[in-house]
């Protein structure tokens, strides 16, 4: 084999390992931050006892989760029950294969140019939508295999919710594709270069509407309050993960956090210019801008979670089918006319 090809393969493997490692460890700080945000919003302090300002709390939680008994219900479908958390988790990692984090950097000393994405597919956004749609099978199968009515209802609700909001999410992505004129995530970011007013979110008048639709549908996709009907503890016990405990339960929790990260990264890439410097100062490398935007979005999702109560099920369906989808259809028309008549 050619040495150059070998080096390329090794670089890709290293990149995959870095991304997977970061993603695997991301829920650890995120749980701590989420509990701190929750605490301060409710005028509390949040975790404070384990380590300085409770920073080791996720480690304590992890030890607890590991040591808990792994209960599989007697009448559950054992194979599917054990498979479901993985099906929920793995697609969330797969999304990041297509996610770009920057254009390229040149490594010092070896003078080798390295791209900051694992793969630049020319239809990357379709891949992301397809793979993220897979993770709902984890929820549905988990609900089905538990052989419990609460879990089953939670799984069915998640299926219905995903179908309703996937449509709006895809419409919002179509809007971005129309604005940017490309299906490749890298080209979508490149089309937004040049400061804050070139970003898709400021493509007036349709950009902000697409942004709002995408964020609302994205929040529904990642199953968080106000759209966490699949695990509505008020009416369903704990929804699809009623019967799960220990590590299997924490897989679902991890999937939720990684989904939140992936929606935040996707929103940044599609609407907020990715790694583009908003003021054109060029002080920081692009990757830091990307991380900052993602952090702001994640904080926003947490902020929403502890501000707004959960929607009722019929309200959820009304928002999805009667508001988001008609608005996105009208918005597609407006975007199309804008693309034709406005150069």
């Amino acid at each position: 084999m050619d040495t150059a090809v070998l080096i390329e393969v090794v670089i890709i493997i290293i990149k995959v390992m870095i991304v997977a490692g970061v993603l695997f460890n991301l829920p650890i700080p995120l749980t701590w931050i989420e509990r701190k945000v929750a605490g301060h919003i409710q005028s509390r302090l949040g975790p404070f006892r384990v380590g300085p300002h409770g920073i080791l709390q996720p480690v304590a939680d992890g030890i607890k989760m590991l040591l808990k008994e792994d209960i599989v219900p007697e009448k559950a479908d054992k194979f599917l029950f054990k498979l479901a958390p993985l099906i929920a988790l793995v697609p969330m990692f797969l999304i990041f294969v297509a996610m770009p984090f920057g254009e390229s950097v040149t490594l010092p000393y070896v003078d080798k140019e390295i791209t900051l994405y694992i793969s630049d597919m020319n239809m990357g956004i379709l891949y992301v939508l397809a793979v993220s749609g897979l993770s709902v099978y984890g929820l549905m199968l988990g609900g089905w295999a538990s052989n419990s009515k609460y879990a089953l209802l939670g799984g069915l609700r998640s299926a219905a919710q995903m179908i309703s909001y996937e449509v709006a999410l895809t419409f919002a992505v179509i809007g971005v594709v129309m604005i940017s004129g490309s299906l490749s995530l890298l080209d979508i970011v490149k089309s937004q270069y040049g400061g804050v007013f070139n970003w898709n979110v400021f493509y007036l008048p349709v950009g902000p509407v697409w942004f709002v639709i995408f964020v609302i549908a994205g929040m529904a996709e990642m199953n968080r309050i106000p759209f966490d009907l699949p695990e509505d503890e008020g009416t369903l016990g704990a929804g699809f993960h009623t019967e799960y405990s220990g590590m299997r339960f924490s897989f679902f929790a991890m999937a939720e956090y990684i989904a939140m990260t992936s929606i935040a990264v996707l929103t940044t890439v599609l609407f907020l210019g990715g790694w583009d410097d908003p003021f054109g100062t060029g002080i920081l490398p692009g990757i830091f801008w990307l991380m900052g935007k993602v952090a702001v979005l994640i904080y926003f999702f947490m902020w929403i979670r502890f501000t707004i109560p959960r929607y009722r099920y019929d309200q959820l369906m009304n928002i999805g089918w009667k508001i988001l989808i008609p608005v996105s259809m009208a918005n597609i028309l407006v975007t199309g006319f804008l693309k034709i008549w406005v150069p």
């Binding site: 945000v37 605490g39 301060h40 919003i41 409710q42 005028s43 509390r44 302090l45 404070f48 006892r49 709002v212 902020w303 929403i304 502890f306 501000t307 707004i308």
Partner: protein, 198 residues
């Protein structure tokens, strides 16, 4: 019965389009995020010292010459609704001339005690008082019974201290009597700490 249909209004539509209610809610939670927390960091840093009227663990007093005030009249035993006090009177042979009636045993069972304060009211010599110690938990049975010697030790909060304040404290570990919170010095902070909840 369907839900009541609200009349259509332009203002309502604008409110919904720009998510004004959401913005209101989000700004409220943001204000709470930056406001001061109402949490009392109890065992580690802060501690609530109760008012003087608080009825905590019993304490036995001495007079100014150091003699026990208790005369073992057993009125507290009779007044106690839960029978948690045990007093065994003996004659004190060490008295000068006349022998006094003193308690050889004065035990209180804190598991049964309901801190009603009747023993305090019944006591003719103000020997027994309900103090301000409220950290009575421990991991074995050692803190369920308090004997006379333990009750005669002055409590950590002195009698003259007004109370009703938060003081600085730290967590101390004592093998014998559980995990008491040591109050190194009294420094008055805000007396009405619950008003922070505003």
């Amino acid at each position: 019965m369907g839900a009541m249909k609200k009349p259509f209004s332009i203002a309502g539509l604008i409110k919904r389009i720009f998510f004004l209610d959401f913005v209101k809610g989000l700004s409220l939670t943001l204000r709470h995020t930056v406001s001061r927390s109402v949490t009392l960091r109890y065992p580690d840093e802060e501690k609530w010292v109760p008012y003087k009227r608080f009825r905590g663990r019993h304490t036995l007093n001495r007079d100014e010459r150091g003699k026990e005030l208790c005369v073992a009249c057993e009125l507290c035993v009779k007044a106690c609704p839960t029978n948690c006090i045990t007093v065994v009177p003996v004659e004190d042979k060490n008295g000068r001339g006349i022998s006094d009636r003193v308690a050889s045993v004065w035990t209180v069972n804190l598991v049964r005690c309901l801190f009603c304060g009747y023993c305090e009211d019944a006591c003719p010599t103000t020997a027994v008082r309900l103090g301000r110690d409220f950290e009575l938990a421990c991991s074995d049975k050692s803190c369920t019974f308090f004997t006379k010697e333990e009750l005669l030790v002055p409590q950590r909060t002195p009698e003259y201290f007004k109370g009703g304040v938060i003081v600085k404290a730290r967590l101390g570990r004592d093998k014998v009597k559980g995990v008491p919170v040591i109050v190194p010095y009294f420094e008055e902070q805000k007396p009405d700490w619950w008003l922070r909840a505003k």
